[in-house]
């Protein structure tokens, strides 16, 4: 009798294991089906000026005289002016040039090279080839942690939810300019550790994703700063993302004494 019961239980277990879909799997598949398709390889449109809508001066972020105009407080405008002055004499090295720190948020939405935007029911990932860098936005219903439970990181802490086909997320816990190693672009734009960013991301057409950010920062900004970044989907099918070992063949170290980005010649010695 006992053996018969055990045999029945084993049979039931095996049939459950091999049933097409368990209840949990079915629920997950249903949730996936409700999400938009953001698959493929994407690239940021435009150059790496973070806020092109307020740019003055012509060229890219490294070109002398180029700047943006966030609604900075006098204190942060002064810091930005200092960065611009160093950039204009080629002594404002990009903090990522030494291959040691992530770009953080919101700069992760301001990078060259390929992007993947991975949509799941419980989480959204931004994966960038450049860096490489990863950002996580939790969409499983959790709340943002209390301020005292964050301590300032490059990418901060993000939670989000879906409003139709739009992903809305909030980010706090950014380290900002605390350690002088987190910038928004090579003009030297920065935020403080008080920044709170609300991002709304959606497909505006089949091949374009748009991220609209509202940046609030009581220490650095006098009012909310609106910045929009767009991404174009590659039309080439079957492209691969590759790893990006920033330190693999590093021939552009920063001279810590001068802030100058060096260029190493054939003999491994600086030529500039």
């Amino acid at each position: 009798m006992r053996i018969k019961t055990l045999t029945m239980l084993c049979g039931l277990s095996i049939s459950l294991m091999f049933s097409p879909l368990s209840f949990a799997q079915e629920a997950a598949v249903t949730l996936f089906a409700q999400l938009p398709d953001w698959s493929g390889l994407w690239s940021m449109m435009g150059g790496t000026i973070f806020d092109r809508s307020t740019q003055t001066g012509s060229g890219g972020a490294i070109d002398h005289g180029v700047r943006e105009h966030p609604p900075y407080t006098p204190e942060y405008e002064k810091i930005y002016m200092k960065h611009l002055a160093l950039r204009d004499i080629d002594r404002y090295p990009d903090v990522i040039t030494n291959c040691g720190v992530p770009v953080g948020f919101p700069r992760i939405l301001n990078l060259p090279d390929a992007y993947e935007f991975v949509v799941r029911p419980d989480i959204f990932y931004i994966v960038t080839e450049n860096g490489p860098n990863t950002m996580r936005v939790y969409t499983d219903g959790r709340k943002l942690p209390a301020k005292e439970d964050t301590w300032g990181t490059y990418t901060g802490v993000s939670v989000g939810h879906w409003e139709g086909d739009t992903l809305v997320w909030e980010t706090i816990g950014l380290k900002g300019s605390r350690d002088n190693d987190s910038i928004l672009d090579r003009t030297g734009l920065i935020l403080s550790d008080q920044a709170r960013i609300t991002t709304r991301m959606r497909k505006v057409n089949e091949n374009t994703l748009e991220a609209r950010m509202v940046i609030e920062d009581p220490k650095a900004l006098t009012k909310p700063w609106n910045v929009t970044k767009q991404f174009r989907k590659s039309k080439k099918p079957g492209l691969f993302m590759y790893d990006y070992g920033c330190a693999e063949n590093q021939r552009n170290p920063v001279d810590s004494a001068t802030g100058k980005t060096l260029i190493l010649g054939a003999d491994g010695k600086p030529v500039n």
């Binding site: 150059g47 590093q250 021939r251 552009n252």
Partner: protein, 129 residues
């Protein structure tokens, strides 16, 4: 042995130069490179198809007959790989003519613009500048 050919292009090239360098040198600024375009002929020594930037080492004879090793900086292998460039695109011993944005201080280093192989095949922005 071919000699160095320096061809300085007109103001149009200056405009293209800033556009050509910036997206390619994503890892650091293009400071140090001139916006003029020069042409070099020589022999490929090594193609460093590695991140964050690729470098092409080319032996170029100077006007006195002495060989100078130039370092030509290009994009990341990831970017270039998706555009069809492979480690075998430049092999040691290959004769080549290149267009580059040289260092402003005269050092034998430059930013890649384009290349023309001995069979006439071109790579990069050879026709643009």
């Amino acid at each position: 042995m071919k000699s160095i050919h320096r061809v300085v292009f007109a103001a149009v090239a200056i405009t293209f130069a800033s556009i050509a360098i910036q997206p390619v040198l994503a890892h650091h600024s293009g400071a140090g490179f001139s916006r003029e375009t020069i042409q070099l002929s020589g022999t490929v020594k090594e193609f460093q198809f590695r991140n964050p930037h690729s470098w092409i080492q080319v032996n170029v004879p100077d006007p006195s007959g002495k060989t100078v090793e130039w370092s030509i900086e290009w994009g990341s292998p990831n970017q270039l790989g998706r555009e069809g460039i492979r480690p075998s695109s430049f092999t040691p011993g290959m004769s080549i003519t290149m267009k580059v944005h040289p260092m402003a201080n005269g050092s034998p280093v430059g930013g890649f613009v384009g290349a023309k192989m001995s069979d006439g095949k071109t790579i990069g922005k050879w026709d643009a500048e």
